[in-house]
Amino acid sequence: MDLDYTPEDIEFRRAARVWLAENVPGEHRPAGVQAGAAFDKAWQKRLFDGGWAGVNWPKQYGGLGLSGVRTLIWWEECERAKAPGYERFTIALTHAGPTLITRGTDEQKSLYLERILKGETIWCQGFSEPGAGSDLAAIKTRGQIDGDYLVVNGQKTWTSGAATAEFQELLVRTEPGSERHKGLTWIICDMSTPGITVQPIGTMMGESDINATFYDNVRIPLKNVVGKIGGGWGVAMSTLAFERGNTFLRDQISMAGKVERAIELARRTITPEGKPAIADLEVARKLAELKADALGLRAMAITNVSNIDRTGQPGPEGSMVKLLVSQVNKQLVELVADISGQPFLDYDGTKASNEWTFDYMWAWVLSIAGGATEIQKEIIADRVLHLPRSR
């Protein structure tokens, strides 16, 4: 056990800090769907050109192959420099890309991986359906083999980024009459294929990029299947641990800074009674407790990367992280609403108009997307505690 950085770690941190200081865009990510995606592509291209793309992807696939500790350092420096996050590249970098690395053919790897790192292609996820969210194995969208093609009909939902994505990781039922985890196929879908309709879903935040995607006789070449026909469930699950272990790393380490910003806000905000909000002991102690919580989340991030460095991948403990990050975040934004008072409702439907208010609503996205809190508890109960199965 130690908290020390090696001289190479320190040099890595210095190099990352210097590069980020010179390259992080000065302007905020724009609100519009198209403009936002263009911003994300430009940032990813900049990362690639600077040699910083795919920090935890293996070197042989163009990544940096960083250890867990270096990945943590990278995210700490990104947080410090207020660098953009994964945004529209979340699926490509944390799920679709790693899935291709693990299960794709050489041809698929060479066709898709580098273009992700270069910022050329956005990917979206075609897993959830109106009747299959938390219960993913209930999906019904059909894929029928017709010669060298899979013909897809049905509907996906919660397809964030579908309007701007070049590709989609798509999970469909290819064996008629099959049930649950059997008979599914994971296929790469080119979003420009005829028959695909993307329909935006309005959200309570106003600004969002969530969609429903409809498939009407969409013909996808069979060579786009990853893994085997009928083996899609295994392919979809092969990188979930990777996703849980890495996607929330930045959320974890950024929480301490977020709490500090809330403390600053409480010092600045004068209540209608004419006192700083932080003079209220209830507010002060809640903030202090959340600061302690955030330090604990950072400590869990170190445990997480220690596991990655020892065993090659994060354990199911990633579910505990997601559960706690969601909970701490929710308590924080509720407290900020209390601190702010009426101005908290000054909101015009864009994140830029009031970031805390956007975050207040985004807290539900955090606790529902990527495996809802209730599903994370099931995973902990099954895989960490080995309790009797509930289903």
Binding site: L3, I263, L287, L295, S306, L323, K377, E378, L387
Partner: protein, 339 residues
Amino acid sequence: MDLIPSDDQQQIVDLASAFILNELPLSRLYDAHYDEGLARAQRQSMAELGWIGIALPEEGGGVGMSVLEEALILRELGRVIGPTAIIPTILGAKLADQFGLHDLRGQLLSGEAAAALAIAEEPLSAHADGVTGVARIYDVQDAACVIVIVGEEALLLDASEADMPTVPWLDTFTPVAHRDLAGLRLLGRAPAATTVNNGMLLTAAMLTGLAEGAVAMIRDYAGIRETFGRKIGAYQAVRHPIAEGAARSDHAKSLLYVAALCLHDGRDDAPLQLSAAKVIAHRAASRNADINIQLHGGIGITSDLPAHHFMKRALMLGPWFGGRKVLLDTLLHEPLLTI
């Protein structure tokens, strides 16, 4: 940077848990009462294992390890609601060493005597030959000395000839006296920070173990107890609170390790990390004690089952080396270290 115990540290953990399995299994608490002879024998066994002086240098009669190993052992003891006396005794041995009180140090390291911990019940005042003011004095059995924190000072008082009548007490496995500290001769005084920081770590470690022990107990029960024809662990109303308890334990454990390393390395943010670790571990221990009782159902509130001891111990350790409110008020303004 690594938060996983080294092989050597894991060996300490394994030895501790093997000892505990034999000498201090949770089952010892089924409908049990405090037994002075047993408590003394346990203290001496732990002293023989070197636990009292684990972080003292070998030339001082210790084992020459560090606060990291102390924290690992205390966490194991917490899982089985082990004796709290080891906390003041570890700290007392260090103070005795610092003050050159070699006889006292020897008594504590050998397990012949123990140290007690006084926590103020009214403002205390320290003067040239001792301390005045009323305090609760924890772990008075065989106590040769009492540690007390007054303002910025840690004081060691002589308890060898003092009258320490115990009071009826919720945590029946911790003998506690209630008296004015006046009349206890001063053995030595030192700046408080070292003792307080070390005390926070040991208390947080025991609380983390309590949080983990309570989850382990209810997890085991949920795997065997049946209602409505199913194991209760299959019901989400039961398994979800246990999953949350496990996450709380893991959160507390990671923070405990970071705090231990900060103290070990003498980092500037050690007080911040230690306060946070104690607050989080105390909350985890209290909430996990709650779900352990609640999810056991009726049997959970009986004296037959030791579930209630997790609750009582977590309550008792609350004020040790700074209560929740005091710690929160300090840590709010402590700067986050920028890297």
